[in-house]
């Protein structure tokens, strides 16, 4: 009996408490929803300003802690405006807008170096916006050295020193060994063959601009070829893809004929411009090969997808073909369709090989030593990392760390 009022009370409390709890929950969640979607978002905090590193001034990096209402882009924040002023009291102007979830922006808009700037990051949602506290002052500074490229500078200095050392070493008259490059040895023979057959030589200096080092290397080889051709009284046809390369090629071939003592034999119309359209150029050169049937074809310089079309057409006309390129993807095509191919750096060694000038040979030696250094670094890096030792890899970060601090 004594339990009855107790049970009744419990039921009454429960029957009242459940709806009340539901009500509280509803109100609470409703409130939570309204707090997230109906009022302006909470402002961002910890706005930090920093001069952008390694630049010529005129840039400031702004970073902040996201607004609690952003939640990494999951809630209703639309984005952030970065506003800038030269005074802490404003007026502030928007210089950059970034989407929600972003906690960093770089300001590069009409920014003067060595001027005090103040920033404010404004968080926005559909209902309104909330500015952060003003941060600053900060100044954009000119950096006179790009620390991010310190390692590159060190490697460049090492390489230049090696090259200069071996160049001057060679100047003293030390004889240097250079391995045989069959493709270049065959050049004389190829020109001779053309002379015997009374047919011209075709020289294609690639389809790139003069700013491409491969094109310059090709022009160097053309210079030697022109001289030999002039000596043998043969004709050289040089179709060009780029008009600037054409003017340089004309000059080089003219000089080659001059050096051979036969300036009158040079015909300017043999070094001509075709078109700056890849496959139209190929069609024209293929046409020359089929009609003129040159005894020797030289494809030296930068080539792209047209390499095999040129080389196979040349092969079908029965010409001796020598190719040279540093375009890695095209090397296999040339190897398959040409008699000789200069692979990658052999193209750059050609000038030294042909002229045997001691200074040029010296630079090759320097190049080899640098390559040994690089191979050594790669090998040591691989082995140490295989054994879980990271200090060798970290060693390359050291100069950067020292100077940054």
């Amino acid at each position: 009996m004594t339990r009855r009022p107790h049970r009744f009370l419990r039921r009454a409390v429960l029957s009242l408490a459940l709806p009340m709890l539901l009500f509280v929950l509803l109100v609470a969640t409703g409130h939570a929803q309204s707090s997230a979607f109906d009022r302006p978002p909470a402002p961002v905090t910890n706005v930090a300003l920093k001069d952008a590193p390694d630049d010529a001034g005129g840039a400031i990096t702004i970073s902040w802690t996201l607004s609690p209402d952003d939640a990494g882009g999951a809630m209703d924040v639309i984005g952030y405006d970065v506003r800038r002023s030269t005074s802490p009291d404003g007026p502030f102007q928007t210089v950059k807008s970034v989407p929600r979830g972003s906690s960093e922006a770089a300001d590069e808009t009409d920014l003067d170096s060595d001027v005090n700037y103040f920033y404010r990051v404004v968080v926005k949602d559909a209902k309104g916006e909330a500015p952060s506290v003003v941060a600053g002052p900060v100044q954009a500074k000119v950096q006179w050295f790009n620390l991010g490229r310190l390692n590159t500078l060190i490697a460049t200095i090492i390489y230049i020193t090696l090259l200069l050392y071996f160049i001057f070493h060679a100047k003293k008259g030390k004889k240097l060994f250079i391995r045989r490059l069959a493709g270049l040895d065959a050049l004389d023979e190829a020109v001779g063959r053309a002379t015997e057959m009374g047919k011209p030589i075709l020289y294609v200096p690639g389809i790139s601009q003069i700013s491409d080092v491969a094109t310059i290397a090709s022009i160097n080889i053309l210079s030697g070829v022109a001289r030999t051709v002039a000596e043998y009284n043969t004709r050289v046809i040089v179709p060009n893809y780029d008009p600037i390369v054409m003017t340089v090629a004309q000059e080089v071939v003219r000089e080659g004929f001059l050096a051979a003592g036969k300036p009158d034999a040079y015909d300017e119309h043999d070094v001509f411009y075709v078109t700056t359209n890849q496959f139209a150029f190929v069609a024209a050169v293929d046409g020359i090969m089929v009609r003129e049937k040159p005894a020797t074809n030289l494809f030296i310089g930068m080539f792209f997808a047209e390499s095999l079309i040129l080389a196979e057409t040349g092969a079908s006309t029965g010409a001796i073909q020598i190719a040279g390129t540093d375009a890695v993807a095209q090397i296999p095509f040339f190897i398959a369709a040409c008699d000789y191919t200069l692979i990658g750096e052999e193209l750059y060694a050609a000038s030294a090989y042909l002229s045997r000038a001691p200074l040029l040979l010296g630079s090759l030696k320097g190049q080899d030593w640098m390559k040994i250094c690089l191979i050594g670094c790669i090998a040591v890096g691989v082995v140490t990392l295989l054994f879980g030792i990271e200090s060798f890899r970290d060693f390359f970060e050291t100069p950067l760390m020292i100077f940054r601090q």
Binding site: P99, N277, A305, A329, I335, C338, Y340, T341
Partner: protein
């Protein structure tokens, strides 16, 4: 033996006819070979697929010329169809003068299939702008200053799709289709400097050059050659010219393999009967 000698001295025009047959026959009688989707293609698909409708626009750059249309246009169309079907806004541009006509043609072709989407709101064509890397950098600073008008001459300020596009921050992902190293310039500037996600579609020959960028995370995904396009077509469930082309490519590859084997059999079987001088040219002596 006679046949082997014939093989050895076979006129290359016979090879050409065989290749032509191998390519044309499957186009007339499709084999419908199954296409296996690779990881590299799926990554680009996922990057676009996860974007919601009416999201930030996808920037598509058509950086190729007419020569590579058969290989690259199908992938451009596939990616455009993917965006259009999901109502993801698309901005089409090109850094190549000869790409202008192709970019416009690709966009207009796909747009016709989606009459519910309208020009200016859901897609826009910005045309060709000279300057290449300067244009890519310019987009990072101010999109509308770089492109004051679209490819048809309409002021950019009148296009609703560009209203919220200030720079790369407002681009969801950019996809570059190219047969050159153009995608590297996009990586260098749009990704490295401005943090824009970059995907690429390149010719089969170029694909292996792009792998290092994929492994380093600088590329979101990669479509390589016709097979890449066919895989993307499979993912969006819209088989196009690439899927048809894959049958032809399969047969052509098999033909080349058979030819190489026959060439080798003929070469070795007739070796004793040939003159030593006839064997090979200098370089071919040592390499495959």
């Amino acid at each position: 033996m006679k046949f082997l000698f014939f093989l050895l001295q076979m006129d290359r025009r016979i090879v050409f006819v065989l290749v032509a047959l191998a390519v044309v026959a499957p186009l007339i009688m499709p084999l419908n070979l199954p296409i296996v989707v690779g990881d590299k293609v799926r990554r680009l698909y996922d990057a676009i697929d996860q974007l919601p409708a009416r999201s930030r626009p996808v920037l598509v750059s058509v950086d190729y010329d007419p020569s590579t249309v058969p290989e690259l246009q199908p992938m451009t169309l596939a990616v455009l169809r993917h965006c259009f079907s999901k109502e993801i806004p698309v901005i089409v541009t090109t850094m190549f003068p000869t790409g202008a006509g192709l970019a416009r043609d690709a966009m207009e072709t796909v747009a016709k299939e989606y009459p519910n989407l309208s020009y200016g709101t859901d897609y826009a064509y910005m045309g060709y702008k000279p300057g290449y890397s300067l244009v890519i950098l310019g987009i990072g600073e101010n999109f509308q200053a770089t492109y004051p008008s679209d490819g048809y001459g309409t002021p950019s300020s009148k296009l609703p799709i560009l209203k919220n596009v200030k720079n790369y921050d407002d681009i969801a992902i950019m996809v570059d289709f190219t047969a050159s190293a153009a995608y590297e310039v996009w990586i260098m500037f749009a990704h490295q400097k401005y943090g824009c996600k970059v995907g690429a579609g390149v010719t089969a020959v170029m694909a292996s050059d792009a792998y290092p960028y994929l492994n380093s995370g600088q590329l979101e995904g990669l479509l390589g050659g016709l097979s890449g396009a066919a895989e993307y077509e499979k993912l969006i469930g819209a088989p196009g010219t690439a899927t048809i082309g894959m049958d032809a490519q399969s047969i052509a590859h098999i033909l080349i393999i058979v030819l190489i084997i026959l060439g080798n059999v003929a070469y070795f079987a007739t070796r004793r009967h040939r003159e030593p001088a006839q064997t090979a040219t200098p370089q071919q002596g040592g390499s495959a």
